[in-house]
Assembly symmetry: C2
Homo-oligomer: 351 residues x 2
DNA sequence: TGTCAGGAAGACAACGTTGTCTTTCCCAGT
DNA sequence: ACTGGGAAAGACAACGTTGTCTTCCTGACA
């Protein structure tokens, strides 16, 4: 007979409703009713079913249930971030998770490491798993391939970067303005030779921050020296090396703008090694939990991760609740947080 | 007729194999063969099916597929951590994710915030989703409830804390020894009044670290003063307040052992405020990315997150590959990393 | 010309559920 | 005793796939 617990590899496979029904001496459908807390089951039968379920370690199979309930949700969203171990991504993930929790939704998280092929791969996987929605910090330079997913009704929210080739919701900060303000702040301290440490040129935010840097350099008539712009830096180590090279220039920069938190870290390490922590000013893009404990405390352009994550979740779930208004592009406020490292004045000019 | 794309809420629902088959003029099974790259399909038919699939934005439904392939895996594991935004959890998640990637497995991540009811809730959810395996940093004090899941063949690996009420694999560090070594190190610097800032007493690691602290205090004959042991601290703010109170004692501590990274942060903030950063020694439990940039750089007991995460994944996937050997309890090496804050000597005695 | 091998493709059932419909049974009302 | 009504429980099909078995067709070979 079928309803006998089947052995697989010496281990009893999960019991099914059919087996529970057999043990309780009722029909499969009655078990379903009990499991789903539907009406129409007498207390005695209900009790008998629950006992049988317990005895067999029965666990409701959500996948099968979702399959049958057509048009129903899986209760899972995907979050494709840059690197979950990075504080920005981790904070984002946490904010998204908290919002998802309130709706009984689980979060599948993955790191893309700025690799566009990984982005495609992960999206395909998540779509195959029928996630209800997607949060994406894109690594590719074009997301036209998502058009078919949108057509199929998959809500997608971009974070940190705007979509290209497709118009979907996004939550970003004004990276260009942020970088500009950072440079203006340094210039106000008398600096005229300000170096930029930038991430990969292929990354949208890196491009915008560089543009903001140039905006300010030109507007304020600061030294526009190609030697002061170092990009395509990925790790703290690369940033350290870049700073070492900058400091060795005949006419070295007196201030630095680090385009991302890992670059700030590398830059500060090198300034320490060179004994210049208190003489070269530095502003970092991206705040992180312990920046105030550095020596000197790090001045940053803060992106409020908490707010960004909350906005992302708000939009995504609104879409899931049927919001069909045109795509929104939310820009979250950023702020210059002065802590010391950015307020180091430029040395007196003229030797 | 059935194979006509169905409209749901004004939006075309995902196409199914049936619809693709109808459009391509073949049987459902043939589509299945093409999608799964099975043999027995002529190149022409194959081409026709692929075109139809493309035209309908067909996406293979992994849930349905897994359901049918009995005994097959879902290709998802669950990671129930303390708080994904915390650098320890985030690092762990990343290491697990990397290992999972290599096997085409996705990771469902969730934060428990040390709440045991959340642990139960999340486990139930993940089991319902039929995850292939579970990584758990337990928040509860007893995990007997997992016995039934083990019986059903679910591999479970505990991290950071040992299981209670059930014997399953675990990966931890020797918290007791770590704390002992930290105290010994401080004592070697001449300190006799060393305070402990501890996490919730209900947390296993907090208990062990406290025990290690006491071991050393007693073994070395240091001041065993209940006033110097402050526990149940959760946030940097609470740690700051605790340090402020400690410093206000008639006979204040000359060194601190912070039981967790967020507590180190709070403690250091208060030492700064009090202007005692260079006079009160501090060792933190848990390393984190930028501890070397603090002022003074933070001496820590490092738990190698990368190694821990990799071990966890190794064990979990070995179980999935059929390893039925008795539960392993891996203890990963920790290390005292001297950076400065822990090497501040005690002030001269006598006075 | 007849037979048979082998490849290509389809029919059918099943995975573990749930929606819908039907059956069964008990009791109130006459 | 008979009917009607409603609650409890079951039968059956379906969700989107895949495993197994069967059918069909083409071509080689005797």
């Amino acid at each position: 007979m079928s309803p006998a617990p089947t052995e697989v590899g010496g281990q009893r496979a999960r019991a099914t409703m059919r087996e529970v029904a057999a043990l309780a001496g009722v029909s499969l459908k009655t078990v379903s009713r009990v499991v789903n807390a539907e009406t129409g089951v007498s207390p005695q039968v209900r009790e008998r079913v629950l006992r049988a379920a317990d005895q067999l370690d029965y666990r409701h199979n959500l996948a099968a249930s979702n399959l049958r309930r057509t048009g129903s949700r899986t209760g899972v969203i995907g979050a494709l971030l840059q690197d979950v171990s990075n504080s920005f991504s981790a904070g984002l993930l946490r904010a998204i998770e908290d919002a998802a929790n309130l709706r009984g939704t689980a979060v599948l998280a993955a790191s893309l490491d700025e690799q566009s092929d990984r982005e495609r791969q992960r999206v395909t996987d998540l779509v195959g798993r029928r996630v209800d929605g997607l949060v994406l910090v894109p690594a590719s330079d074009n997301q036209e391939y998502l058009l078919s997913e949108r057509r199929a009704g998959l809500p997608i929210v971009f974070v940190d970067r705007l979509p290209t080739g497709i118009d979907v919701d996004s939550v970003t900060v004004d990276n260009r303005a942020g970088a500009r303000e950072a440079v203006e702040h340094l210039a106000a301290g008398g600096h005229r030779r300000i170096a930029l440490l930038g991430d990969l040129d292929t990354i949208q935010t890196a491009q915008l921050r560089r543009a903001g840097y140039l905006d300010a350099v030109r507007a304020l008539g600061l030294d526009e020296d190609p030697l002061l712009v170092v990009t395509n830096l990925r790790t703290p180590e690369e940033a350290s090396a870049a700073v070492a090279a900058l400091l060795a220039l005949p006419d070295p920069p007196t201030a630095l703008l680090a385009g991302r938190n890992v670059l700030s870290v590398g830059a500060i390490r090198q300034l320490r090694i060179s004994g210049l922590s208190d003489h070269v000013a530095i502003v970092g893009f991206d705040d992180f939990p312990m920046a105030d404990l550095f020596d000197p405390p790090l001045t940053v352009i803060r992106q409020n991760v908490q707010v960004i994550g909350t906005e992302v979740a708000r939009i995504l779930f609104a879409r899931l609740d049927g919001d069909t208004s045109p795509p929104q592009h939310v820009v979250v406020e950023h702020a210059l947080v002065q802590r010391g490292s950015g307020e180091i004045a430029a040395p007196e000019r003229g030797r």
